[in-house]
Amino acid sequence: MTIDLSTLNVSRIRDGLSKREFTARELADAAFDRIDAVDAEVHSFNQVTRELAHAAAQRVDEMVCAGDPLPPLAGVPVAFKDNMNLVGTRTTCSSRILENYESVYDCTAVRRMLDAGALPVGKCNMDEFAFGSSTENSAFGPTRNPWDLERVPGGSSGGSAAAVAAGEAVLSLGSDTGGSIRQPGALTGTVAMKPTYGRVSRYGIVAFASSLDQIGPFSKTVEECAQTMNVICAHDDMDATSVDRPAEDFTAHLRDGVKGLRIGLVSDLLALEGCDPAVRERVVETAEALAKQGAEVGEVALPSTQYGLPAYYIIGPAEASSNLARFDGIRYGHRAEDAEDVMDLYLRSRAEGFGPESIRRIMLGTYALSAGYYDAYYGQAQKVRTLIIRDFERAFADFDVLLTPTSPTTAFKIGEKAADPVAMYLSDVYTIPVNLAGIPAVSVPCGHVDGLPVGLQIMGTHFAESTILRVAHAVEVATGFESIPPMVQRLGERRGAIVA
């Protein structure tokens, strides 16, 4: 039997396993068949973990045989961004400096996915240390967008996004510091969520900017996003910023509809010069569709978010320069040969191991934190953060959720923005304020422009994930987005058999 993962979802997999239509082993092999078929072109993966997936599949198949109740993600092939530790894998952050680093403990979010019965198929390519918006800043070569192989999948979690879009995994996890889950979600036509800061433990993820980083899921559907959130959201005493709240069922209100919900279109962000008019049009049309379903749609402004990008390009690099100080060539990672002394070892190991964007951000952050500049840059950026939080508080007094495009454009060409860091940074203009305020947001596909997916960003106040997922589900129903890229559809047609 040939299983096409693009046509399966989490519930269908669980159902099929318990009815013994297929085995977890067959599901794992379906993922590896797809990876074998497309990954030479797409390059979602840095490492494929056949043995780990087969061992996990065997455990699930034994549960099926024993008639045990199946855990929520039983038999679901999943992929993890390569900054998440998992024993039995290398965790490289797509960097030369960690090229051979072997995980010695598990990331909590990864462990929760595996304890829920998921099958780990591999570790996904990313911008080095999550510095980028295109996955071109990988020491191991770029990932390509399954919708158009000449284009980027977004970044920094581009491999995690492409893996789900191409059906190489049913779910994946990424990390989002300034948009690194949502922007690739938009560019690859996947559902991509950044939870409220503190919802998901950061233990075991290689830190970029500790006050902004948050782990979240990629999936084909909003329901699967909610199902994954149910698994990964939990208090963890290994992360001091993890919030201790009662467990929520994020699937409970998905189908409640949007009648009576107050939805705010963020007018000043929508009017930004760099926003593609066709992208803007899809977003406005979607808001109109929600109004037809009974939502009260209005307009709102977030004037301080114009300072979000500059504040982020101080806070992010400042925290990163501090976090990346640990890569010193002594305890782990690349070590320069024949160092004369410790200083020589530091200077050369780091310069040899880090790629150009990492060096740029470490330099920017070190400068911003250095004597005489701290108040003007880092201190000022933290005050801007307060202004942005106040803007959101005012907006959420009048609206339940806020809408913007996730990205100002659809997927851009590989190389198009690689030489201009400032232009690249602009692709995160809509996503960055969300990280600065610590609020949750989801990107959901809301249509196409010239055959490329457009993402709608739905933002809510702290811990309002259920509400934004409810709106996302209404968007999914209203737009009827076709989530399978043409290259994958052709693959299915060529092979004929599809299990639906």
């Binding site: 504040a311 200077l347 310069a351 860091p421």
Partner: protein, 95 residues
Amino acid sequence: MAISEEQVRHVAMLARLGLTDEQISSLGHELNDILLQVEKISALDLADVEPTAHAVAVTNVARDDVVKPGLSREDALRNAPEQQDGAFLIPKFGG
């Protein structure tokens, strides 16, 4: 507030990055381009605004003081580029 080549060299030393002259020169240009964008916020009058370090503040987090297994020495050393007698090996330091 343009950053000079001398400052770039100083920052590279603070960051422990042994960069080439070519890298220093191109980083000077790139950092100035980025800092130009950042000037937008340096000019704001925010004297009365409190800074935010964490958007979702949790305070006084402490877990119960219970002994749990940590990394074994073997695991801690697993990725060491050089080790000796159960310790990380480093080149000589100081004068």
